[in-house]
């Protein structure tokens, strides 16, 4: 714990707050947003923020547990399939006469079961999460598509479909922002202000060391996968009501959008590093860029190329830095043989963090 933050704490507070990946992403978000407002036609209209948040809401929601899972060094690729399964369940149960809140509750329970199955295999059986969740990605999607086939359930009560798209008062913010903000605060408290959250980082840095310092590694991972399943199921209910359509192919490919945004937000795919405010800014940055480019009539392929390049550049920036750090550490070692163990320890931790 002390060793990890050693280098970071060597600087004054204002530098620690400002010179971070997270802050860089937030700055970039603000710059791109202001630029789009002044240069992109129709971007400053009242609908932009509204549609942007409606589109980004599912990604924002799932990014919360995904951030914590990736910080532990694991990954959950099954989230979009859980979304689809939840969507299909809501549709099918509603079709058979269940009310939307009840169907939603069952869907969230199903999401918890999906997450628990992933979590059990990863945390207690000890299988790699990449393999497990590739499997459940296919499994949950298969169940979802199998339940409804090529049909879609679309006869949802307007009361509920309108709720999913409703504005908060007269503002340009949709109501889905409210559950997101509540969940974001809860996840931020959990990750950044509890011993559970510190355990999450410790597992990502070195899960064996975390185990010996008293972190219950298996339980932590299990809980995170369950949270991921539950939040994905909630996102599934939202997507179903927003489009008024429950289909087995809903949210196809959403898992990659979530993971891309999490990585853009400064979370290390190797675990141990990242923060929620960076991730939220990452999701919004992708949303603002796609929205602005769509308004410019840029085709979807070009939009994907730009977002892909941005992601590669932002991930590359840390790799270059770790190379640079290593090179400068090596140079120092050669020039002065007095470089002590603490110095080496600190630079080693830089590499780990990136």
């Amino acid at each position: 714990m002390t060793a990890r933050t050693y280098a970071a704490h060597a600087k004054p507070l204002w530098q620690r707050a400002l010179l971070t990946r997270e802050f860089a992403i937030i700055t970039l978000l603000v710059v791109v947003y202001l630029y789009s407002r002044s240069e992109v036609p129709a971007f400053d209209g009242p609908l932009t923020i509204y549609y942007l948040l409606l589109d980004a809401a599912a990604i924002l929601l799932i990014a919360l547990p995904m951030t914590m899972i990736i910080i532990t060094g694991e990954i959950d690729l099954s989230v979009a399939s859980t979304v689809a399964l939840s969507s299909v369940l809501v549709g099918d149960l509603h079709q058979h006469g269940m009310s939307i809140p009840m169907a939603g509750l069952v869907a969230i329970l199903a999401g918890v079961v999906c997450g628990a199955f992933n979590g059990f295999l990863v945390a207690y059986v000890g299988l790699p999460s990449l393999a497990v969740t590739i499997g459940t990605l296919a499994l949950y999607r298969g169940i979802a598509v199998g339940t409804l086939g090529t049909k879609a359930v679309t006869d949802f009560p307007e009361k509920w479909t309108d709720l999913a798209k409703q504005h908060i008062g007269d503002s340009s913010y949709p109501v889905i922002v409210i559950p997101f903000v509540v969940l974001a605060i809860l996840f931020a408290l959990l990750l950044h202000f509890t011993s559970f959250g510190r355990g999450v980082y410790d597992i990502g840095l070195n899960s064996e060391a975390a185990h010996f310092t008293g972190v219950n590694v298996a339980r932590t991972k299990f809980i995170l996968f369950v949270l991921s399943g539950a939040v994905s199921a909630f996102a599934g209910i939202y997507i179903t009501l927003r489009y008024g359509s429950a289909r087995g192919d809903n949210a196809t490919g959403l898992e990659l959008q979530v993971i891309a945004a999490v990585l853009l937000g400064g979370v290390s795919i190797f675990g141990g590093r990242g923060a929620l405010h960076g991730v939220i800014a990452g999701v919004l940055l992708i949303g603002v860029i796609s929205s602005a480019l769509r308004l410019e009539d840029v085709t979807v392929n070009v939009i994907n190329i730009i977002i892909g390049l941005l992601l590669v550049l932002s991930v590359m920036s840390t790799s270059f830095l770790s190379l640079a750090t290593r090179a400068s550490a090596g140079m120092k070692k050669r020039s002065s043989k007095s470089s002590d163990a603490r110095q080496q320890l600190a630079s080693a931790h830089h590499e780990g963090k990136n």
């Binding site: 970039l28 679309t154 359509s245 289909r247 410019e296 085709t299 994907n304 941005l310």
Partner: protein, 345 residues
């Protein structure tokens, strides 16, 4: 020191990526500005939103739309998702509403899921025309229908009658036994045959389940079972291609006629080698062309979508709005050796 440099270069790298993103925005903003003035000026802005991009069928229909829009001097753009899914189509509809596009021409991935987004766009003043795949009528101003069941049935009977000299045994190779569309067409074909073609005898209807191998095997069985068979009609694109493939490699080539509904890219080989004289489908290029002119007529106020409204669609002539705000493209289009080279879908 080291820490500083690391963070500085982090910001540097992000600044580079920011520059990249910003320059991408800037590069295309010229086109966007024109779009903005298009809305406020006289010219009509029409956006085509197919089910997905990179689909040869929609490339063809969008080409027709583009031709039409340039003929009436409007501003054309084509947007769409990579995957044909309704949730992927919605952001593009939202964008059209934000841009204040005059008309949006959509092929719907779901009859309901994109409905609310379409209505929001209509509230913002955008006219919505669906083509190829309709939504519920309450979500759009007009639907451009590619063909009616009667038209599809009639063109197939006409083709086979002409190809076999209006006399002899024929069979039908359909999709699944419970396929709604196919069964409706087959019923209409039977009525047409008994009323107008007394010398043509429909000996059997078999089902290939829209599976290539099954259709291929059923074709083989038909030809063994009915040695006097003169023609096979397959009202499904999978069936006609499988039947043509079997016949083109067999001794029946030239003796048994294959026709029905197919796409030029699947059928090109068999039309060129003489197995198939003609087959039918609608012309997606004309469909897009008509949809664009219908969109303009809505924007200009020439039509409102009321039954009996008429408008002119360039080279295709005059069209009348039918029931449920639907405009029919016309009779199906026949593809043959003379025209198939012009189509790529």
């Amino acid at each position: 020191m080291k820490f500083n440099r690391r963070k500085a270069s982090a910001l540097g790298a992000l600044a580079i990526s920011a520059a990249l993103v910003l320059s991408a925005c800037g590069g295309s903003s010229d086109g966007g500005d024109k779009g903005g003035s298009g809305g406020s000026g006289k010219s009509v802005s029409v956006t085509f939103l197919p089910k997905n991009l990179g689909n040869p069928y929609f490339d063809t229909s969008d080409k027709g739309g583009k031709t039409a829009v340039s003929e009436f001097g409007g501003k054309f753009s084509e947007v769409g998702p990579e995957k044909a899914s309704p949730d992927a189509q919605v952001p593009f509809i939202n964008t059209a509403a934000q841009q204040g596009i005059n008309a949006l021409v959509v092929s719907a991935n779901d009859p309901k899921a994109i409905g609310d987004a379409l209505n929001e766009a209509r509230d913002a003043g955008t006219k919505v025309v669906t083509f190829d795949s309709d939504t519920d009528p309450k979500y759009r101003d007009l639907f451009i229908n590619q063909a009616t069941a009667e038209g599809i049935a009639k063109v197939q009977v006409d083709m086979i009658a002409k190809q076999i000299g209006d006399k002899g045994d024929i069979a039908i190779l359909s999709a699944a036994a419970n396929a709604t569309n196919q069964n409706a067409w087959i019923d209409l074909m039977k009525k047409d045959l008994s009323a107008n073609h007394p010398n043509i005898k429909l000996v059997d209807t078999v089902y290939g389940n829209d599976d290539d191998q099954t259709s291929f095997d059923k074709t083989s069985a038909l030809l063994q079972k009915y040695p006097n068979l003169k023609g096979i009609v397959s009202p499904t694109t999978v069936g006609i291609a499988a039947a043509a493939r079997y016949v083109s490699d067999s001794e029946f080539k030239g003796k048994v006629q294959v026709t029905g509904l197919g796409t030029p890219n699947q059928m090109r080989k068999y039309v060129e080698d003489g197995t198939v004289q003609a087959f039918a489908l609608w012309n997606p290029e004309d469909l897009g062309y008509l949809a664009a002119f219908a969109a303009k007529a809505l924007v200009d106020g020439t039509i409102t979508g009321k039954e009996g409204d008429t408008f002119k669609a360039g080279k295709l002539g005059e069209f009348t709005v039918g029931k449920d705000a639907t405009v029919l493209l016309g009779d199906p289009f026949q593809f043959n050796k003379g025209n198939i080279a012009k189509f790529n879908f």
